[in-house]
Amino acid sequence: MSTRAPATDLPIRFSEVAILAGGVTVLDCISITFSAGAPTVLIGPNGSGKTTLLRAAMGLIRPARGRITWDGSEVSPPTRRAIMFQRPVMLRRSAAANIGYALAAAGAPRAERAKRTAGLLSLVGLQALAGRPARQLSGGEQQRLSLARALARDPAVLFLDEPTASLDPAATKAIEDIVRAVSTRGIKVVMATHDLGEAKRLAGEIVLLHRGRIIESGPAHSLFAAPTTDEAKKFIAGELLV
């Protein structure tokens, strides 16, 4: 991973976007812009559309209505974007080979791969486990490896879907430290989480989703301090949004 000047692909702009799945509207009338800067955190209950929004922003899902543009263009191969799924799938090879594979897929020169693999393993604290089959790593280690694999693409924008779900506090802290580190280096992080505490710790901006719509969005400190909608007030107060 390298420190870089402002990213390409940004801003990512959603204009009146609707996404359907099996005839059901998963996202409806979404208009939002992701710009360079501090992490944007998507919060909301299960089924609110966080994952779908991340996938659409990554370019893995096409909208049924509306437009998504990356730096003004509707067609943008995801060469400068990377995503870490909630349940990442490890390839059947070692931890180091998983990263080497992502580097090869991203077109990294063969001569650079070993050095970059070592650097990424070190960044996520897995250098001692480089040779271990990736599927034999613990849940937290697999999440970190998945993050390293995403970073192997040298992304300008990094999408993280519930990266700490079901991890213990130590593993959660390890992931959050990496997220802060990559954000500091200029990578735009867009992340979905259930965990309000995590959102408070990491977010520069917050987007609250409910039933496929954006309920409220804005700077994290003001949204947490003074939510304006009833749904946001309830969610931030820890009440159930159903």
Binding site: L60, P78, A105
Partner: protein, 230 residues
């Protein structure tokens, strides 16, 4: 029983007749498995990774052909290679090559069907990560075949086991000619009917040893896969 003692003696002393038969059997079955793998693995991968009209009937047919009766396969190859058949002019009937062809017909659907299932399962697991990593089509196929290699090896061993143990197809197209097309299974059938039990039992012991060896190798392949690849 004296037959058992004589059979063991044949095996342990390396009886030349017995081992010539074993050698021919292994050459025929290994050749058939090799050719079936060259056809079956790419065919299975193609069906697993492409979507086309009639794909599901093709999969059902392929799975059904795993149970193709050897005598039917033998009959089909016989009709192709017999003097009046479309390939009769090649003069292959009652040769080891005809037996290789018949066993290839039997084994290819087994390898193709198992490879299709294996690669498709892995593809369903990997496809989102492939999309996220921007992996191109050729690299995807290479990765899937490589990552599924231990399961595919098990499929090849299953195919070889089927080839080595079958008798119906090769007796029809090979003719069971002494010293030329006589294999372990056809010899066992013939010698048993003649009452020459020591040779039949000796070959049975060798055949069982091979079957057990295949099972052990298949188990070892899976264990190695779990250990080295996860």
């Amino acid at each position: 029983m004296p037959e058992n003692a004589s059979a063991l003696h044949l095996v342990l002393t390396g009886d030349p007749t017995l081992f010539a038969i074993v050698r021919l059997s292994l050459i025929v079955s290994l050749s058939a498995t090799f050719i079936a793998a060259l056809i079956g693995v790419p065919l299975g991968a193609l069906i697993a990774l492409t979507r086309f009209r009639g794909r599901e009937p093709v999969i059902v047919m392929l799975n059904a052909l795993m149970g193709l009766p050897p005598v039917v396969a033998g009959l089909a190859v016989y009709l192709m290679l017999s003097r009046s058949g479309p390939l009769g002019s090649w003069g292959l009937l009652f040769t080891p090559l005809a037996m290789v062809i018949a066993q290839t017909v039997l084994v290819t659907p087994i390898i193709a069907a198992l490879a299709r299932q294996t690669i498709e399962d892995l593809w369903l697991e990997y496809r989102e990560e492939f999309a996220a990593m921007g992996v191109g089509p050729l690299r995807r196929v290479r990765t899937l075949i490589w990552d599924a290699r231990f399961s595919l090896l098990t499929a090849l061993l299953a195919g070889f086991g089927r080839a080595a143990a079958e008798v119906g197809a090769i007796i029809i197209v090979g003719g069971n000619i002494l010293g030329f097309t006589r294999t372990m299974t056809t010899t066992i059938a013939l010698e048993t009917s003649k009452g020459n039990l020591p040779l039949a039992i000796g070959l049975g012991i060798v055949l069982m040893f091979i079957v057990m060896l295949i099972s052990t190798l298949a188990w070892g392949a899976r264990r190695a896969g779990e250990r080295f690849s996860g």
